[in-house]
Symmetry: C2
Subunit: 315 residues, 2 copies
């Protein structure tokens, strides 16, 4: 199997560019397409470290690439902006197979394609462990404000686009069984897929902003922790409707199988990158109501303190 050391930097970069081609790539920096007048550029960056954010025995390289894009583009969408470009900074040991890097680039290209975005640049360096950093760039059209963490207002409803708890349940299934689910439980593979390749319909953030939403974030660290930050930044209370977010059949089945209360996944499980938006209007297309913004502080579930508050902890 050809490694990065065998191929050398330039050939590996050639493989990445072949897998994720863009006419904007190949110079010292990428010059993006002109944006319409009044547009503002939006940028965010997120890192995935092997062993901590992904494992090669659980995720195919294409899945790692897709997840890197989804989680970064979710941050762009959470501003109400449209993702237009990504940059890939990848560090890896010399003995990493070239096929791994190519696979990550293929996943990046596929998911960028879902958003009509392109991989426009990057950097490839040697390191002791695999570190994948994607920077996402988006365009925020028009003069309306972005969807900000500070602009949730009492009286609005909280609406969500995406899964809640599936990624965390998928991770617990991987820890227990790897990719080989027990006989009769094959359909729980959907939870594992959501962990390895979280999915959002592209454009929901733009739609939310265009239809009157004012504030948003994405569920990266856990529903209650992320809403906790959201509520504090806006100076409001966020009250979740238990019926609206109750564990579905798959989460219930996984909970019985693993002996875990599935509410834990719903309330504290991150990495679904579900868009969490507040609006005084009807739920935008693709969103469902999950709660209300109220005066006060903190996050509650049907008016009572929400359990399972601890989400993702980095250190």
């Amino acid at each position: 199997m050809q490694t990065l050391a065998d191929a050398g930097e330039h050939e590996v970069i050639g493989e990445i560019v072949a897998a994720a081609p863009s006419a904007l790539n190949g110079d010292d920096a990428a010059v993006l397409f002109p944006a319409p007048p009044n547009s503002r550029t939006v940028a965010s960056t997120d890192t995935m470290v092997e062993g901590r954010h992904f494992k090669r025995e659980w995720s195919r390289p294409e899945e790692i690439g897709k997840k890197a894009i989804t989680q970064n583009f979710a941050d762009i969408e959470a501003m109400g902006a449209r993702p237009v470009a990504a940059l890939l900074a990848m560090s890896a040991p010399s003995d990493t197979p070239v096929a791994f890097v190519r696979g990550v680039a293929e996943g990046i290209a596929a998911r960028c394609g879902d958003y009509t975005a392109e991989l426009v640049g990057g950097d490839l360096t040697r390191s002791e462990e695999i570190v994948v950093t994607v920077t996402a760039i988006g365009a925020l059209g028009g003069s309306m404000p972005a969807l900000a963490l500070t602009r949730a207002r009492a009286g609005q409803s909280i609406v969500a686009h995406g899964r809640l708890g599936w990624s965390a349940a998928g991770l617990d299934l991987l820890r227990a069984f790897g990719r080989e689910l027990p006989a009769g439980h094959e359909r729980l593979g959907a939870l594992i897929d959501q962990h390895c390749v979280p999915w959002l319909s592209p454009g929901r953030g733009v739609i939310a902003r265009a239809t009157g939403a004012t504030a948003a974030t994405d569920n990266s660290d856990g529903l209650v922790p992320d809403l906790g930050i959201f509520a504090r930044r806006s100076g409001v209370r966020m009250d979740l409707n238990a019926d609206a977010i109750a564990p579905d059949e798959l989460l219930e089945e996984a909970g019985v199988l693993l002996g875990i209360d599935p509410w834990k996944w719903v309330l504290s499980g991150g990495e679904d990158h579900t868009l969490l938006v507040t609006t005084a209007k009807d739920a935008p297309s693709g969103f469902r109501p999950i709660g209300r913004v109220l005066k006060g502080e903190g996050v509650t579930l049907d008016g009572k303190p929400a359990d399972y508050e601890e989400g993702w902890v980095s250190f």
Copy 2:
């Protein structure tokens, strides 16, 4: 000494934001200031890995932060664009001192300030080794093309802004002596400083483009290797003027001290991030002529093949 594990992610991020404050930071993604009509966004990313691109016994944290910005902003300037923002993705072990991260952020803030740019976002993750990835975002004003690797033309002169060979000489001095130079050679500290904190005057890329230059790159991997790529991409020969790039007194002194031909540093030493620009006009302010663009291919020195062609190799 307080470590990242002691402080926790949120407190460390608080330290970074305090050291490099920006009103644009703190949401899921940063919304940049509106750019003038006709502006295009320019983006580039570069990674520094501990032990490979820096050593903590040689570089203070502030210097690592400054270097990360300089090398990224050089890529933006090499398009003729103005750096406006940076994002920092930092991975580090749990036992890394918080003071190290704060120092890197202080260096980033100081160097961003030199360019009137801001650190607008980032990500902090745990890893086995320290990996610092900066993404630079720039604004390319007006409708003229960017300075592209493909647009050098026979008949132009090659002009440079910045040092040539100093960073590589500084690295060899560090390898031989660390930061403690032999008595009587203290002034060679300027070479070490250039390695640890390469310096460019901000805005030279914009000035070059505004005064008629058509093509540019920066010296990151070595003068001859970088010009070799430049020449190939433009389909031209680049002929260097030996008198114009001859080793200066400091390089000569370091060469005698280390028993190294200083031409090696000038021709193959990278990481000075010197702007290398081609123009049919007079050298723009801050630039000096170092050679000519000719018909043909490759890189020559006074018409003969340039020695020391091997530059930085990643794998």
